[in-house]
């Protein structure tokens, strides 16, 4: 077949459509997405207020915990002489992992022309922004002297002391900082056309002014669109390497060390996959919420859950393979500390958590081989929650196992979490949910212009 023939061959009709028939017009899309914001009386906000109250309370708990940590010191946590790191580091890695998926969905799927991303990328990006922000809080509150966190920056000072560039924590600092800035810009750029839509559909002068201000004078001209597409695509091209490097650097926080169970070359890619894995799981949870809360069944379809479940299934296999590689290498390498650590993982004091993590991350997602499970929102939701728990367990065990079971048996000590450990962890979840609730209340949770494009491409 000649090249020309390929070019002229008609595109075969897609087996899967990413919208329900009722939503397949440009107006319908606008209507569906803006209705919760502009026709509030049509929606029961009871669940929203309930969630806001609960997450508000947790956020208050988080603030109290942070206040206590700042005033009384990190001694309030369960960290000790051997296990000097604890929940804060695990929480940080977990949140930054969650913060991965938005960029992945937006940039990588965009570059890979995965059209279905259109109806999920907005709240996934918001999720990224919030998760990365929370992730950024943890390394600071985890410091013994958090007031001096800025010493990690190369600011001009009278002592002419710079940061120590060989430290993975410095790499990490820059990685988080650039990622948060990138996420904000990327999210905002993608939002501009929709803000203009909101402005145009506003029922009050205040709303029109507010949205209008943020819409930066967007008029939807071809020139605007051309500039927008160029910028968005360019950002997406930046985003993919950034997200990979960010999670590689997070992996190097551990891998660039000397400790058994950390000093492993597999860590950077394994962290990228793990981050994508937990990020997707969180996107699924949020998608189910948005779909149910704002009756967006028309835009977020069963097909979306189906495809995301497939991604998680793939990731779970990669994760299982990564774990097995670690075990194999410990055995094959033959070093006493490495082998001893693997035995400790399976049989030591934290073993129940380790088995739970294997179940959540490797076993449970295998249910996605069955199409009926993939196409059940409840089932996908439950497995996603399990994955999120499993991924948190994985992070805390990476920290605990190595530090509790290092080279010298004389210093083997366990970590016993305190109420402040739990409050910082669960409180941060509350803060995240609260931020997300505020977001869906004021900003279109689904990218209207991208879904319109999708509807247009799919044809009605």
């Amino acid at each position: 077949m000649s090249l020309a023939a390929i070019r002229t061959e008609p595109t075969p009709p897609e087996a899967v459509r990413w919208t329900l028939p009722g939503a397949r017009s440009l107006d319908a899309v606008n209507e569906l997405v803006t209705a919760p914001l502009y026709e509030r009386q049509l929606w029961s906000w009871k669940a929203w207020w309930l969630a806001a109250a609960l997450s508000g309370a947790l956020t208050a708990g988080f603030l109290v915990a942070v206040y206590v940590v700042f005033t009384r010191g990190i001694g309030v946590w369960g960290v000790n002489t051997s296990t000097v790191w604890g929940f804060a580091i695990a929480d940080y890695v977990w949140w930054i992992g969650i913060g991965n998926a938005g960029t992945l969905i937006s940039s990588m799927l965009l570059l890979m022309r995965q059209k279905w991303r259109a109806s999920t990328n907005r709240f996934a990006e918001a999720m990224t922004l919030f998760a990365a922000t929370i992730a950024g809080i943890f390394p600071i509150i985890h410091l013994g002297r958090p007031m001096y966190f800025y010493w990690l920056t190369p600011y001009p000072n009278t002592m002419t002391v710079w940061p120590q560039w060989r430290s993975a924590l410095i790499w990490d600092f820059w990685a988080i900082l650039s990622y948060i800035l990138f996420s904000l810009i990327f999210w905002y750029v993608g939002l501009i056309p929709d803000l203009a839509t909101m402005r145009d559909r506003a029922r009050s002068k205040f709303a029109a002014t507010a949205y209008g201000a943020f819409a930066l004078g967007w008029r939807g001209s071809a020139r605007h669109w051309q500039a927008y597409e160029t910028l968005h695509l360019a950002l997406a091209c930046l985003g993919v390497p950034l997200v990979v490097s960010l999670h590689s650097v997070v992996g190097m926080d551990f891998a660039a060390s000397l400790m058994p169970g950390w000093q492993e070359t597999i860590f950077p890619p394994y962290f990228v996959v793990g981050a994508m894995y937990s990020g997707f799981a969180m996107v699924v949870c949020l998608a189910a919420m948005v779909r149910w809360g704002f009756r967006q069944e028309g835009l977020i379809t069963i097909a979306h859950f189906d495809v995301m479940a497939k991604v998680m299934l793939m990731a779970s296999i990669v994760m299982g393979l990564s774990y097995a590689t670690e075990w194999f290498n410990a055995w094959y390498g033959g070093d006493r500390p490495d082998r001893s650590l693997v035995i400790f993982e399976f049989t030591g004091s934290y073993a129940p958590m380790f088995w739970a993590l294997l179940f959540c991350n490797v076993i449970a997602p295998q249910a996605f081989w069955i199409a009926a499970v993939r196409r059940s929102v409840v089932a996908v939701f439950v497995v996603s929650i399990l994955i999120n728990i499993g991924m948190w367990l994985e992070r805390i065990l990476i920290v605990w196992n190595t530090l509790s079971h290092g080279y010298l048996p004389s210093m083997w000590r366990l970590f016993i979490p305190t109420v402040w450990d739990w409050l910082t962890t669960i409180g941060s979840l509350g803060l995240f949910v609260l931020m997300f609730l505020v977001f869906v209340r004021f900003i279109p949770a689904i990218s209207m212009h991208e879904v319109r494009k999708l509807v247009d491409e799919e044809g009605s």
């Binding site: 990190i74 000790n80 002489t81 790191w85 013994g144 001096y148 010493w151 120590q164 060390s257 016993i416």
Partner: protein, 951 residues
């Protein structure tokens, strides 16, 4: 300083309901201010510095004075460092026979007890603070009455006293008033040893082993390396005799003991036997030497052990030595004297240094009898705390309370003070003049380093008061005594000066006495019963309990168990299994009417049917830190056999108690044995390559080496010489302002010791490895610190810049040795445990070392302040620092000289020679960290015929 003292003067604790009106408050303020101005500074009398005699003190330059510190009544010579009038550090006095320049944990911790805010600060009676004149007024009519009756009704109760001046005072007093009674009791009593000598020789005599001449030593329930006044000296002698690598010339140590002691841990052969059965081994040895005693019938391992030991002992003519411990009855001691005589053992005898001519327990019993009979009307207790530490069956508290007028002179308002009508504050040993004899009779003058912080009195002053001699100070009395008794040949001033400077009175050691051939005692083998025996021992951290309020000692991890802030009942594994208990389970121990409920700690290698425990805990009046820590076993202690309680039944009861351990028990197996390699001397000669990770034998690296321009500091720790005594741990704490964290923090897994002693069991035998910072040349902590707070200096030191540290703790995460310590709270800086944070405690800080605040990491610095001091001195003289010029705090403390420090760049340095030893190794050297701290493997000298004898 002024402010601190003023606060302490004002803090004099009155009864809770005492009302202070405005005028009284002003009076207190004025008197407090006046006292503060007057009391801060050097003692009024001239004291003579040991090393340098400045023309007036140079601020910033520490001054060092020789003195001596008591333990169980015997002195250990020390040199105390004083900075601007504050004593801050105790080191050993090389000229003193009980120190030889080293210290033990108790000597090191003495400076902290000086500044203990819970110390008694004023006389106390009738529920309120009094002044001395009130006491004198109350005492006078009683003294007058007693004098009229030649002292009848007046009694003294003291601990062991070896102070020549005080003894002379008491003797003069009792000579003038012959009816005065003097009772003398020491909780770490050795009556059995004393009575054993009487049994053998018909006269009291003290045995002094000459370990240097010994080739085979058998200890029978004896612990010459354990805590006690001879520990430092014996530890040095024994390890010194084991330094050679020639198996035949090295001292071989056999130990028979019910529970682990430091001696048992060092021993080449050890047998765990319950206390009663230990005598069987002695009898078997005597039999092999020709004594007509019945043959030992089992247990087989004891039989075998005794045969092998006997063969070895007799094979080294003149080099065999048998030592029995205070738990063994007098007959066993007499038997050992007989054995030693047969072996021509390297032992000397001296007349007892303790002058009391009856045993301590006997003395205490006569006190009880007299007190019950109402024969004591006025009781003066000098420095002792019998209500706490007397054997429980004597019910001494009632006896003391029954005396109409009793006054206790003590450092704390303790249990005894609570039963006395008066309590009087005692001057701390670092505050007042006195003198004291060592275990071998060598006398030292006790020099004060600081004026008494409170309005306290020495025992000398109290005796003067009793003798109605007003006026002379302790200084006058001590000096006066030596003017009479010292061998100064007329030139007293020079002699006095020299004696103060040396820290020992020349030629004052007790003369050796020659004794007749010992008599063979009547002794027969016994078999153990079904019940348990409770074996007591002095605590390695608190000794007899008198150190209970010392935070450094409370938090000093005990050898073997690593327990802090508490004690436990130690049970053998087999007994624990049959009782169904694990570490921390509560058991009930019943002995007659006495019942004790306490937590269990299971110990591998302890004799079955033995419950072992240590004295010193369960204090009711120790002070805010030491009260109600652990459980009290004195009340179970029988006066007839103070170190063992037979016929004890043990049963499991519900409940658990969280034991505070800084290391959990690990038996090392397989490759993990490399963490603490051990070799037999015989193998050392045979194998040139021991398969060790050698110092300097580094794995390849891509990184360029560091440039070192001047010195390259390094440390070598000889685990063959380490006996696990903890002196280095406490010395490091004292030198480097290392805070304590308190029991709650320990429970979470936090501690601050810069130097820890890892205790691993290999093949059932424990071994000790002190672990300070390794000062790696490729330190894993350095590249991971984001703010460059962990850095490498040009001399190879791995430094921590506290000011720069933000507390990421990545350095400790990445430290394979886990030697870094994090200030999770302001342990030394505002968030101290209980009274450890009181202002006065800050006086103990070493001004050369930064006090670390919350949120920063810290660790061993190789005593960088001492390196700096040496460097300053060397630069002034335009020379390099000499080899051996820098002595780290741990090195200085070590009684066995197991720690060496020096410069690697100096090819002739001792440290280079040690690193070239065949048994030298780098801990985890295979990681490529290139540690500067390296080790010498533990060397053992087992009897090659030991196994053969079995078959």
């Amino acid at each position: 300083m002024n402010k601190q003292l003023r606060l302490d003067q004002a803090n004099m604790r009155g009864p809770p309901n005492s009302e202070v009106d405005r005028r009284a408050a002003l009076k207190l303020f004025v008197s407090g201010a006046a006292l503060a101005l007057a009391s801060c500074g050097r003692p009024a009398e001239q004291i003579v510095p040991y090393v340098e005699i400045p023309d007036g003190m140079t601020p910033g330059l520490p001054m060092r004075f020789a003195s001596a510190l008591p333990l169980a009544g015997y002195g250990r010579g020390v040199i105390v460092t004083s900075v601007e009038g504050r004593p801050i550090k105790v080191d050993g006095n090389p000229r003193h026979p009980a120190s030889l320049g080293s210290t033990d944990v108790f000597a090191e911790a003495t400076v902290l007890s000086l500044y203990d805010p819970d110390r008694s600060q004023a006389p106390y009676s009738g529920g309120r603070v009094q002044d001395w004149s009130a006491f004198e007024a109350a005492l006078q009519p009683r003294l007058d009455k007693a004098r009229a009756r030649h002292g009848a009704g007046l009694a003294l109760l003291t601990g062991r006293i070896t102070s020549p001046t005080l003894i002379a005072q008491i003797e003069a007093f009792t000579k003038a008033l012959p009816q005065v009674k003097w009772y003398r009791y020491e909780p770490s009593e050795d009556d059995a040893i004393r009575n054993g000598a009487i049994l053998a020789f018909n006269r009291p005599a003290t045995l002094l082993p000459r370990f240097a001449d010994a080739r085979v030593v058998l200890t029978l329930d004896a612990d010459p390396l354990g805590a006690g006044p001879e520990q430092i000296r014996f530890a040095r002698d024994i390890t010194q005799a084991r330094r050679t690598h020639v198996p035949d010339q090295s001292l071989r140590l056999y130990a028979v003991e019910p529970a682990w002691t430091l001696t048992g841990a060092l021993a080449d052969h050890r047998l765990a036997l319950r206390p009663e059965l230990v005598r069987n081994v002695a009898i078997e040895i005597a039999r092999s030497l020709g004594a007509s005693v019945p043959e030992l019938k089992g247990p087989p391992e004891a039989e075998h052990f005794a045969k092998a030991a006997a063969a070895d002992l007799t094979a080294r003519q003149g080099g065999g030595l048998v030592l029995a411990g205070p738990r063994q009855p007098p007959e066993v001691h007499a038997l050992c004297h007989w054995i030693n005589n047969e072996l021509s053992a390297p032992v000397d005898f001296i007349a007892p240094v303790d002058p009391l001519n009856i045993g301590g327990i006997a003395s205490l019993k006569s006190f009880v009898a007299d007190a019950r009979a109402g024969a004591i009307e006025t009781l003066m207790i000098l420095g002792a705390n019998p209500v706490y530490d007397a054997p429980g069956d004597l019910a001494i508290a009632d006896c003391v309370a029954a005396v109409p007028f009793s006054a206790q002179l003590g450092l704390y308002r303790d249990e005894t003070a609570a039963r006395c009508t008066w309590h009087l504050p005692l001057t701390h040993v670092l505050e007042g003049w006195s003198d004291i004899r060592a275990f071998d009779g060598t006398a030292s003058i006790v020099q004060p380093l600081i004026r008494p912080l409170y309005d306290s009195r020495t025992a000398h002053q109290i005796m003067a008061l009793l003798s109605n001699a007003t006026g002379p100070s302790s200084f006058d009395m001590v000096r006066g005594y030596w003017q009479q008794a010292g061998k100064h040949g007329g030139d007293f001033e020079d002699w006095w000066r020299q004696t103060l400077q040396d820290g020992v009175v020349a030629d004052s050691a007790a003369a050796k006495i020659s004794l007749p051939a010992p008599q063979m005692p009547e002794v027969a083998p016994v078999s153990g019963g079904e019940n348990f025996t409770l074996a007591f021992a002095p605590d390695p951290s608190l000794f007899d309990g008198s150190f209970a309020n010392n935070a450094w000692l409370q938090e000093c991890p005990k050898p073997f168990t690593k327990q802090v802030w508490g004690n436990a009942l130690h049970l053998a594994e087999s007994d624990a299994q049959s009782l169904g208990v694990v570490d921390g389970d509560m058991v009930r121990l019943v002995a007659g009417k006495a019942v004790l409920e306490a937590p269990v700690l299971v110990r591998q290698g302890q004799a079955s049917h033995t419950v072992a425990t240590t004295l010193g805990y369960g204090r009711a009046g120790a002070g805010s830190l030491g009260t109600a820590v652990g459980f009290d076993v004195y009340r179970l202690r029988p006066s007839d056999s103070p170190w063992a309680l037979a016929d004890v039944s043990v049963s499991k009861i519900g409940g658990r108690q969280n034991l505070l351990l800084t290391q959990h028990f690990f038996e090392l197996e397989g490759e993990a044995k490399d963490l603490q390699p051990r070799f037999a001397l015989a193998d050392l000669a045979k194998k040139p390559d021991l398969g060790l990770s050698k110092p300097g034998g580094n794995p390849a690296t891509l990184y360029p080496p560091h440039d070192y321009d001047t010195y390259e500091w390094a440390m070598v720790i000889d685990t063959a010489a380490c006996i696990g005594c903890n002196a280095c741990v406490v010395a490091c704490q004292a030198e480097n302002n290392v805070p304590i964290v308190g029991p709650d923090e320990i429970a979470v897994g936090r501690d601050m010791h810069w130097l820890r002693i890892d205790d691993y069991v290999i093949g059932g035998k424990p071994g000790f490895s002190p672990v300070p910072c390794m000062h790696c040349e490729h330190a894993p902590c350095e590249p991971v610190c984001p703010v460059a707070a962990s850095i490498h200096d040009s001399e190879g030191l791995n430094l921590q810049v506290y000011n720069r540290c933000v507390g990421t703790r990545f350095c400790q995460s990445n430290c394979p040795y886990k030697v870094r310590r994090f200030n999770f709270y302001g342990y030394a800086d505002g968030e101290e445990y209980k009274s450890f944070g009181d202002d006065i405690v800050k006086a103990v800080f070493n001004p050369d070392v930064t006090v670390r605040g919350r949120g920063v990491m810290e660790k061993c610095t190789y005593c960088v302040q001492r390196i700096s001091r040496a460097r300053r001195a060397a630069e002034k003289d335009h020379r390099k620092i000499h080899d051996g010029e820098i002595v780290t705090a741990c090195q200085a403390a070590c009684p066995t000289r197991a720690i060496a420090f020096g410069d690697l760049s100096d090819a002739n340095s001792r440290i280079n020679a040690l690193r070239a030893e065949p048994q030298a190794y780098a801990l985890l050297g295979e990681l490529g960290t290139r540690p500067r701290t390296t080790y010498l493997a533990r060397l053992e000298n087992p009897n090659p015929d030991f196994g053969k004898a079995q078959s």
